[in-house]
């Protein structure tokens, strides 16, 4: 019985965090958020050296063969640095293809296939969106697709819940509050489905778990910033962190996030080992982190006082990343509804 990260996992986390600390300081994130493609490209190519595209692909297909727990540690580090990355899209796709043989996996590992995710309609369909698959061809639009820009292929859900891999069609960026990542409307116009997969609750659960891990990292960053600010900022002749009103806000943030970290680890491990509770845990991890993350985003901003509200400090980039993760792949209410369904609580006795 050991509920802890392995030495390798800690090393992965440390080396990636160390790299991001140097390669993605706030100045770089600002440039990326204001449309500087070369900064984004430099960061992405640096991240490629970590072999992230093959992290969750079995070794027999050329990947590292690591599990979702490792993937969550990577996503947490990316969230902490609010770095843009194709990692979430790649990892969810790798998981969707986990049982389908070699297929596209080596191309995903090598980077020849760069994946985007069009799964929004699995949890909510509106404004005429929805992809249909007929005779092996996809038509229709998907909103708020992740990493579609500069992708070669999409993992897209159709209106029956089946998943497809197809070439990325025409797409236009959709402006969200979060400028650290690009979201798009993708418009399928008869692209061929290169792989068709049956509806799979686990794929959505994995996407949600990774979004939760991203929030875990971003929220931890916001706590660290709040605590550092509270220990340094002086008012009334003393540091504000010595006032109980401020101190208690910091304690409340830490108290909400610390058990959330264990929840992410447990949910990821449960999915990795095929425990039946894994799906429910991952789904509830998403809603739980959404609530804890939103609380921390506002509380950390408040600890920073007026400065927290400015663009100068840049705290708002984390606030917005957490705000987008909250809705991405389903709101907290939607996730909780799904978790009830997964436990058979919706069927009348």
């Amino acid at each position: 019985m050991e509920f802890a990260l392995s030495e390798d996992q800690r090393m992965l986390q440390d080396s990636l965090s160390g790299f991001l600390k140097d390669a993605a300081p706030l100045d770089t994130i600002r440039k990326i958020a204001t449309g500087d493609k070369s900064s984004a490209a430099a960061l992405v190519s640096g991240l490629d050296d970590f072999g992230l595209s093959g992290l969750h692909v079995a070794e027999e297909h050329g990947g590292l063969g690591l599990g979702l727990l490792d993937a969550c540690l990577v996503q947490e580090a990316l969230g902490y640095a609010i770095a843009p990355s194709r990692f979430m899209a790649t990892t969810v796709t790798a998981h969707a293809l986990r049982n389908s043989g070699e297929g596209h996996l080596p191309a995903i590992v090598s980077g020849a296939m760069r994946m985007g995710l069009a799964l929004t309609e699995l949890s909510s369909r509106r404004d005429g969106a929805g992809v249909s698959a007929e005779n092996g061809r996809l038509t229709g639009t998907s909103l708020l697709a992740l990493s579609a820009e500069e992708s070669t292929h999409m993992l897209a859900a159709d209106t029956s819940g089946s998943l497809h891999i197809a070439q990325t069609p025409d797409n236009v960026a959709m402006q969200t509050i979060d400028r650290t990542r690009i979201f798009s409307e993708v418009r399928f116009a008869g692209e061929e489905s290169a792989a068709s997969l049956k509806p799979d609750d686990e794929v959505l659960a994995v996407a949600r778990l990774l979004a939760a891990a991203d929030t875990l990292g971003a929220a931890q960053a916001m706590i660290d910033k709040a605590v550092a600010y509270a220990a340094e900022r002086q008012q009334f002749g003393r540091v504000i962190g010595s006032f109980q009103a401020v101190k208690h806000m910091c304690a409340e943030m830490a108290s909400r996030l610390e058990p959330s970290r264990a929840l992410i680890w447990h949910a990821a491990h449960a999915l990795d080992t095929g425990e039946p509770e894994g799906l429910v845990m991952a789904t509830l991890a998403k809603s739980h982190l959404a609530e804890a993350g939103t609380f921390i985003a506002r509380t950390s901003t408040e600890v920073h006082g007026g400065m927290g509200f400015t663009d100068l400090v840049g705290l708002h980039y984390w606030f917005k990343r957490i705000g987008v993760n909250r809705q991405l792949f389903g709101s907290p209410e939607q996730c909780r509804h799904d978790a009830a369904r997964l436990q058979g609580w919706l069927e009348p006795a």
Binding site: V227, R238, C250, A251, R256, P259, L284, H288, H337
Partner: protein
Amino acid sequence: MDLSFSPEYEAFRKEVAGTLAANAHLAPTPDDRGMKNSKRQAWQKLLIEQGLAARTIPTEYGGYGAEPDILKSRIIAEEFARTGLPRAMSNQGISMLVPTLLELGTPEQKAAYIRPTLHGEMIWCQGYSEPGAGSDLAALRTAAVSDGDEYVINGSKIWTSTAKQADMIFCLVRTDPSAKKHEGISYILFSMETPGIEVRPLVDMTGTANFNEVFFTDVRVPKTGIVFAENKGWQVANATLTHERGMLGDPNATKARLVELVELMKTERVNGERLIDDPLLRDRLLKLQGEVYAMQANGLRITTHNLKKESAGLAGLIVKLMGCELNHEIARLAIDALGELGIMYETGEHLRADGSWQSRYMYDLGLIIGGGTAQIQKNIIAERGLGLPREPKLAKA
């Protein structure tokens, strides 16, 4: 990450399950009331003999004498939870005094008190808080004045559970009024039958006297009752306070309550619909389920830190605050889900679950306050966990 148990531990689990199954017929029932009930004492004796209670306490003091093994303790707790059989006795004497005596007691104190306490033959109460010393415990004023081989004690204590039943008290008293407040306190043991002690029940909001007030008027007690040393009582007390906070907020107990709540919401019907079919109530239930999962996972993480003899850091510091709050929220949802019938209490044919959700809702609020208030917990989390500075001391007027 590996949540499985090795074959050695799986074998141990089988052994525990076998022992429990073979002896289940001897277990006391809820009708066996009272702290010194003979059936409960016999059950406790059996559990100690089988290594399922007082497991790591040396045999010379009446324990089972096994090496400490966190996983085995965990397996024992899980098997009790699975079978629903009554666990080993748990009271302030066993959980707080015994560890203190093992660490700091004199040979005479260990010999006299540990065995009968473990066997449920000697009941203790804890004399810490006073009307003027709650969160600021070190401000306590109950005075113990030296007189030959004795102290003469005057003052009062509050929040003293089991004072009525107690044979003995472990008590904090001020032995040096001129010393700094943490340095003039002693930790002393004496009989509750000593002349001059009056116990008055303190009825709380649940309608029950879960606590008492204890008054001391010229109570003469022998100095041999001092634990460790005169004026060193603050260090002694701190050892046990850590223990008390560890007991509050156990995630497995919280999980059991959530299971009860789910069962209630699946079976109870309003207007012909199950409570769980109401989307608003269901959403709240799922929210709490997420929190319970998180606290359980946090508990696993702490177990691993303990196994490695490392500090669990923030993961440990937040347990009392978050666990007690979560219990309170679970009771709140149960009451809301029951709606109008949720207000029934104590008796009546429409009462659900013996009114336990209302009494838990109130008692859990007591636990949010007791054992270090939520606000004190937040100070501890911020100062020890996050490194924020302490409140500056006010200059003396």
